[in-house]
């Protein structure tokens, strides 16, 4: 393809971005990429090649956005200009749009490194185009079965992606996840991360909806010394000896502080550091350790990692704090059973029963099948939630779920309109009491949009 064609693609993409913004139609996070790729199909590969320090791809069912934002923050503090699909548009068009926004018409890219979160299913295609220097594999949980299909199919796509990596590429993977470890353990240049502190284990038994219970090689159940989250933990197959790989970078001495964050010791090949974060929950410990492993691999210092993690503010529905009418509102995206269970554990870890708004949509990006709500352990709410407002397109399904989880009917308020639901939740609060909003993906976008219009948060593409 000629440079002329590349230039035309960039021009077309940037014009469409300008047009979308002028029309006030949103943040132009995907459409410009689609337009540009229609004109110049190999645009992703050609712009990606101009990044002096290459690209880092981050994928996984849960935590991609936070991990990518952390890594961008660390690299930024190290003086690298990174290009990042911040708005979470993680299909090829969204990545192309991010690159376009930082490209001149002659194909020059204003950035040193690409940090892109990538949709689990799109990984082979994006690897093929961008030829990443580092690939981070976070975790694999059942999610949107109507879209992704079985978890084994997603794992197969990742195996395919690994085969397409360049010889000098490096894979960083979550060793605590037996499904991910099975994909990556034989890759020649691999580093691992995980949790070394078994005191934060939830037990030795897996929760109901856990995936990956059975050894890929022999089909017998793994024996867990510790289960940390979903099917993540320290595991071993007693039949063939397959076990959690040794951890290159690990979180040790983990002390969870509920919704306010955690402290832990990061142990790495270059030393140890005590880390403090306001990101809540064990799932965010994993995100931080993943980002730290990638940052250290790229040559940043441990001190820098520690500083950026300490100053990092949860954003964009991932533990984001919003003040409404004097109340702190925490918004925690909860989009699949494993993620939802962790969010519930974090929110309910305090002494007082909480008030929560649960917003369930069934659009394509949420998964059209809401049966997963029955894999979430909402029974936890019985003792720890004094009022739940259910909202969204599938509010009724959620109301039924809570009824069968054993919540008294008077504790459940059904309000399909999201804005009224938030106000309803706020009206239920005592002075100084926080509100927890737990939305699926598109419900989160919708609620943020409503709050942005009222001036409570910034629009997501500005964030």
């Amino acid at each position: 393809m000629t440079d002329l064609r590349l230039g035309a693609g960039i021009l077309a993409g940037r014009l469409s971005a300008a047009l979308i913004r002028a029309l006030g139609a949103g943040g132009a996070t995907t459409m410009p990429g689609r337009v540009a790729r229609a004109v110049a199909p190999d645009l992703l590969a050609r712009l990606g090649r101009r990044l002096m320090r290459g690209s880092v791809l981050i994928t996984g069912t849960n935590g991609k956005t936070t991990t990518a934002r952390l890594l961008t923050g660390i690299l930024g503090r190290a003086g690298w200009r990174s290009i990042h699909n911040r708005a979470g548009a993680n299909l090829p068009a969204g990545i192309a749009a991010a690159l376009l926004a930082h490209s001149a018409l002659d194909g020059q890219v204003r950035g040193d490194v690409g940090v892109f979160e990538v949709d689990e299913a799109a990984l082979p295609l994006v690897v093929e185009s961008l030829r990443p220097r580092v690939l981070v594999l976070g975790n694999l949980f059942r999610d949107q079965l109507d879209r992704y299909g079985e978890i084994d199919l997603v794992a197969d796509r990742w195996r395919d992606a690994l085969r397409r990596l360049e010889a000098d590429a490096l894979v960083i993977y979550n060793a605590d996840d037996p499904l991910v470890a099975d994909v990556a353990r034989d890759f020649p240049a691999a580093r691992t991360f995980g949790i070394a502190d078994s005191s934060v284990r939830r037990g030795e038994a897996l929760e109901h909806a856990a995936d990956g219970r059975y050894c890929y090689r022999c089909g017998v159940p793994y024996r867990y010394e510790a289960v940390f989250l979903g099917h993540l933990g320290a595991y071993r197959c007693d039949s063939c000896g397959t076990a959690r790989p040794l951890l290159t970078v690990a979180a040790d001495n983990v002390r969870l502080r509920g919704i306010t964050g955690s402290v832990f010791t990061l142990t790495t090949p270059v030393g140890r550091a005590d880390v403090t974060t306001t990101l809540p929950g064990l799932y965010n410990v994993y995100n931080i350790v993943a980002a730290a492993t990638a940052a250290l691999t790229l040559g940043t210092t441990l001190g820098l990692v520690r500083t950026v993690v300490r100053d990092f503010i949860p954003a964009f529905g991932r533990g984001e704090q919003i003040t409404i009418e004097g109340h702190t509102v925490y918004m925690l995206l909860a989009k699949n059973p494993a993620g939802f269970n962790e969010v519930l554990r974090t929110v309910l870890s305090g002494a007082r029963p909480v008030v929560a708004v649960i917003a369930i949509n069934d659009l394509t990006a949420d998964g059209r099948d809401v049966s997963w709500l029955w894999d979430v352990d909402f029974e936890m709410l019985r003792e720890h939630c004094r009022a739940a407002v259910v909202t969204g397109i599938r509010a009724h399904d959620m109301a039924v779920r809570l009824k069968y989880a054993g919540l008294p009917e008077e504790a459940i308020t059904l309000e399909p309109d999201e804005e009224r639901a938030i106000h309803c939740g706020i009206d239920l609060l005592a002075l100084g009491e926080p509100l927890y909003v737990l939305p699926t993906y598109t419900a989160m976008l919708r609620i943020r949009d409503l709050l942005a219009r009222r001036g409570y948060v910034r629009a997501f593409w500005e964030d």
Partner: protein, 249 residues
């Protein structure tokens, strides 16, 4: 005399893909709300099934790999025990993959047939990877609904295999919106004596509480004779049912 209901949940750790546990929760809660004592026993792979100890059996759906493990285990005695129990009047609900395993065989796109237990007269064939999976919200007209029950059942279906019924199986219902057994003959599910198989998950029973009550009645009747279930306030369930019907169109 106090009523009691003994539920057997087969392969809960293998076949639990689509919120299947919600069916067990719904059966147990709705029975308990009527003062029925409920015992749920989980029977995993490798554990013998003493079928005479249960009134109601449930088997859900799983991924291919899990389904193969369950199919193999069913051939080790559990399948015969289940067939015998159903012939003697036990109640059974099988969903998705579990439904397929109740048939004669599952023929994958490639590779060998997976044997079923021939409890229901049906066979399932995968039409090849090029043909689309049948995915989406589904509404069926229950055929026939028990006296007093609303005529529709709602759920979500997601299956590659196409199921065709033999003459000894009666369809559970006719498709109003969605695909059903095979996307062609408008049938959905299968019924034989007190055994039911269906592609409807969602899970099935929470949004179709009258189907849950029907199963509870059938299961109680066997040991306790004719029983009356006190009506419950099903307003939330009925609203969810209606919302799901609208969503399927």
């Amino acid at each position: 005399m106090a009523l009691d209901l003994r539920i057997c949940h087969l392969y809960p750790d293998l076949l639990n893909l689509y919120g299947d546990r919600g069916n067990i929760t719904t059966l147990a809660q709705r029975a308990r709300w009527r003062g029925v004592a409920v015992e749920v026993t989980e029977v995993p792979v490798g554990t013998p099934l003493r079928a005479a100890e249960y009134d109601l059996f449930f088997i859900g759906g799983g991924e291919d790999r899990q389904q193969v493990l369950a199919a193999g285990d069913l051939q080790q005695g559990k399948g015969g025990a289940l067939r015998e129990a159903v012939e003697e009047g036990a109640t059974l609900l099988a969903v998705c993959g579990g439904y397929q395993l109740m048939g004669r065989y599952y023929r994958p796109a490639e590779g060998e047939d997976l044997p079923g237990i021939s409890l229901l007269d049906l066979a399932t064939q995968h039409p090849g990877k090029r043909r689309p999976r049948l995915i989406g919200n589904i509404v069926i007209r229950w055929d026939p609904p028990p006296a007093g029950a609303p005529p529709t059942l709602v759920g979500f279906e997601n299956h590659g295999g196409r199921t065709v019924l033999g003459s000894a199986a009666h369809p559970l219902g006719q498709v109003v919106a969605g695909f059903g057994n095979n996307g062609e003959d408008r049938t959905e599910g299968a019924a034989y004596r007190n055994a039911y198989g269906t592609y409807l998950h969602g899970p099935l029973l929470p949004k179709n509480p009258w189907f849950a009550d029907h199963l509870i009645m059938l299961a109680l009747r066997r040991r306790h004779g004719e029983v009356e279930l006190a009506p419950l306030d099903d307003q939330i369930e009925a609203q969810a049912h209606e919302a799901a019907v609208r969503r399927a169109r």
